[in-house]
Point group: C2
Chain length 531, copies 2
């Protein structure tokens, strides 16, 4: 039937029709539809002479074909999962009816955190929070824990704060028994944290720090560059607080705790691997930093048997001379030697616009041994046709296993096709992209095109600490309601969770076990939701 | 060489490598590069064992291949055009350096018209305004002329205004010798325009009307729906002013004059084809409306020999019961009978979210004779997976010759591929999409993906009157600087101009002549710029 259809089918002219490559498969699909559900209806020679019934068949075939290219539509649901799906879709539609996902709403002056807080109150959010989401594959070392936890840390003994403008602006922290002698990034004066707290009033200090540890108010950023400037200033402020070895250890353990409570069972953490310091000012080796990560991971796993694991991506700053990258490579080889399975791979971090493009480091990067994988940030921009979005080409040609952000990927159809063919997943971070001014309206987020084209993605949160988002649930909420198609359902959520294991850095044997642990939690959750 | 390369080339694993369909063509391209420019360098078995030189060749091949898929990169420039291109690129880079195209800038509170005014002052804008841009293929009957011209019209004899809130809100206009008896859309009181002007002060009235005839301030729109509500209210207010037959005639002639001065030589106008009225209240037949269009077009052509032509797309409202579409079809057949070549085709207009989707009208639409083409609005939304963006499927399956807006097309890869294969152009209206809240940042405009994928587009302005934009130049400016790749140059501009003739509704013989007329102006412009 398909070839007959093909002959009789006419769009514009026979010449253009012959070019219609998709037609063969459309007609096969059409013919299947016709055999299964309908009486065969012949397609007219002219479109206008079609009967409305024939048109309806043709249309259904196209819509079906289209939807199939979004991979999640092929996920199968058990009867119990179907029951759970009904609950979820009911809540999803309730959310749509509230209207704050209406197109254009992202453009209002309402700060994202107020929306994030509203979202937290919804039944759908509760469902998503409890959902076993698998792994978080894109998150940065000092930007995971809640701001409330950061404030708690400022109550620790021997903490000093360096402020300017009579205490109005916090510039640095430092743990020390004596007044610190180190220079901060700006001129400022040191005082013990207790004194600062007393002088300014505890409530004021808490309020100030909560704000200062975040990027709010976001509305003051005119551009992506302005947002990045503030973003980096938080990282720098936090250094003195978090690089204190005992705090570093506790911060990481707490990050795992918060993630776990948010339905995350696995973490691949990007760390710049800084030198930590002790109370006497002594600097530790970066191998000690690694050891803290490793031992805290083991401790957490021992205390939480359903937690799968964590691994580390060594991700130093890209805003360096290429020769510095040689040191990075040496460090990475040393990490691999001592922490062979704990080290997931290598990346470079920092704003792509200001840092160097990957092409500048190719000579060094090619020297990394083949058993260390790349997990490159690339294309975290909405520019098109610059050295920044062309990082995407280098990431793929260097053999990256995943792409961090890849916001600009949709302007690179060849690279997008390579991702599909090579099964490279894009780490999509919806809230991060909004706060960092890449796009305001989730409906325009490029991940929708990745979904439509069947490019593998995982949902990640990047730096949730800095915008008061939950460790991963808010990003799932926006991916589900704002980015995925209107009809996306539990199949989409299930695929996102499974992708986070499929595309992680584990060896095949590890993955198998990880899937089992996830499945156990998943089945339990489905049971709960279906009830 | 290519097959040897293929064998020795390894990305991730041999299995995934075999799937790498693009590799054949990449390797052929690579081999060509190598033969032409470089000493042949063998590609290593492992990516990491590549030399930086081999990597550079491979990378260049991929970047070249990528850029080729954007059609404009294949446009050839004469030596004179190359000289003009240097001037244009110098001015383009100067614009980038001013920073208001920096990503994220669209998110600020600065109203678009202030930016539009700034743009008008730039040398690049002057160049683009004088550039022969070919045809404007997407514009609506009562939304082309400048607001200043609309204010001028309010000085005509026998005009009445209906206001509420003691004259603070204009609800309707009407030309009449006596006080109008007709009901306006809201309760209001009629008074002669002269009296109103005197009572409120002329300067105030001018200021008020300029604002009221536009969508500013745009910042008050929370959503796309809110923007549409105000948008439609301007159309309704203008009805009484413009549907007066003598004014209708002059408005259209003035639209052609403004377009012509903005470097436009051809127009395909979408009109709802309203019944016009005379000073005694008599209603004219819609065939009279058509006749005014036709005779004014001829008059304008006679007065401006370098102007190519205008055609009309009959485009009544989609927010009707399907049976009303039967009347539309009858009207359209009558238009075709009397104005065979002047009628370009048929469309349905109005907000897709509120109006009916095309699928509801299929039975009626299929009855339109085959010699009347469709030019459907479809997918003017950023929703994904709803009846609104699925209008795109119906537009193509009904055999549309172009797509109006198609903002959601990138979420429909199959339809996007069909556009490419069937050579259907998308009418891209950048400023309209911003004002109507589909997206704030031009860097995220979906047309970038259409360009990257080689889907044909034309640049249009939709309703420039309502946002104080120039008839077409502002949209070209944003398409060139905000949407097209950083490296887009005169080749892009030339292709956009040529596309507007290639994808218009003319017969082949007409097109040939149109190209000649355009080429003449183009060569003159190139001469001027190159000097």
């Amino acid at each position: 039937m398909s070839s007959i259809c093909f002959q009789n089918f006419k769009f514009a002219s026979p010449a253009t029709m012959l070019k219609l490559r998709f037609c063969g498969s459309m007609m096969r699909c059409l013919s299947r539809c016709a055999q299964k559900k309908y009486e065969p209806i012949s397609i007219s020679k002219s479109l206008r002479e079609n009967s409305p019934e024939a048109y309806a068949i043709m249309r259904e075939a196209v819509i079906k074909l289209e939807r199939q290219s979004a991979r999640f539509t092929n996920v199968l649901l058990s009867p119990k999962e179907q029951a759970a799906n009904e609950v979820i879709m009911r809540e999803k539609n309730a959310e749509y009816n509230k209207g704050y996902l209406e197109p254009g709403n992202g453009n209002t002056d309402e700060p994202p955190y107020l929306v994030l807080n509203k979202i937290k109150e919804t039944p759908l959010y509760s469902l998503l929070q409890k959902m076993p989401k698998g792994g978080l594959l894109h998150a940065h070392d000092t930007a995971i824990c809640s701001s409330a936890y950061l404030v708690e840390l400022t109550y620790r003994k021997h903490l000093w704060i360096c402020t300017k403008n009579e205490g109005a602006d916090a510039i640095a922290f430092r743990f020390s028994k004596e007044k610190p002698t180190m220079k901060a990034t700006e001129e400022c004066s040191w005082e013990p944290m207790e004194e600062f707290r007393e002088r300014r009033g505890e409530a004021n200090v808490i309020k100030y720090l909560l704000r200062r540890f975040s990027m709010y108010p976001v509305s003051s950023y005119a551009t992506n560059n302005a947002a990045w400037q503030d973003f980096m200033s938080i990282f720098m402020l936090l250094d003195g607080l978090l690089l204190f070895a005992p705090v570093w250890r506790d911060y990481y353990y707490n990050a795992l705790t918060e993630l776990h409570a948010d339905g995350v069972q696995y973490l691949e953490l990007r760390s710049v691997m800084p030198n930590l310091y002790c109370i006497n000012g002594e600097q530790l080796d970066i191998m000690d930093t690694m050891e803290i990560y490793k031992s805290e991971t083991e401790r957490f796993k021992a205390n939480n048997p359903d937690f799968i694991d964590a691994k580390l991506i060594y991700a130093p700053l890209r805003i360096v001379e290429p020769k510095v990258c040689e040191d990075y490579i040496k460090n990475c080889i040393a990490f691999k030697k001592n922490y062979s399975t704990f080290l997931a791979g290598f990346d470079l971090v920092g704003q792509e616009e200001l840092g160097r493009p990957l092409i500048d480091f190719v000579e060094q990067l090619l020297k990394l041994p083949e058993d260390i994988n790349f997990y490159f940030h690339a294309g975290e921009t909405n520019w098109y046709g610059t050295s920044i979005d062309e990082n995407l080409v280098d990431a793929v040609l260097l053999g990256t296993k995943r792409i961090g952000h890849g916001y600009a990927i949709i302007k690179h159809p060849l690279v997008m096709n390579m991702l599909k063919q090579l099964d490279i997943a894009v780490e999509v971070c919806p809230v991060s992209n909004q706060v960092l001014q890449l796009g305001q309206d989730y409906h325009n987020h490029p991940a929708a095109m990745l979904i439509a084209n069947g490019v593998p993605i995982v949902i990640s949160s990047d730096d949730p600490s800095f915008w008061w988002a939950s460790p991963l649930t808010h990003d799932f909420y926006y991916a589900f309601l704002g980015i995925a198609p209107f009809h996306a359902d539990l199949r989409f959520l299930k695929q996102m969770a499974m992708n986070s294991i499929r595309y992680n850095a584990m060896a095949e044997e590890e993955k198998k076990k990880a899937f089992e642990k996830w499945q156990k939690q998943w089945d339990k959750w489905i049971d709960d939701v279906a009830k």
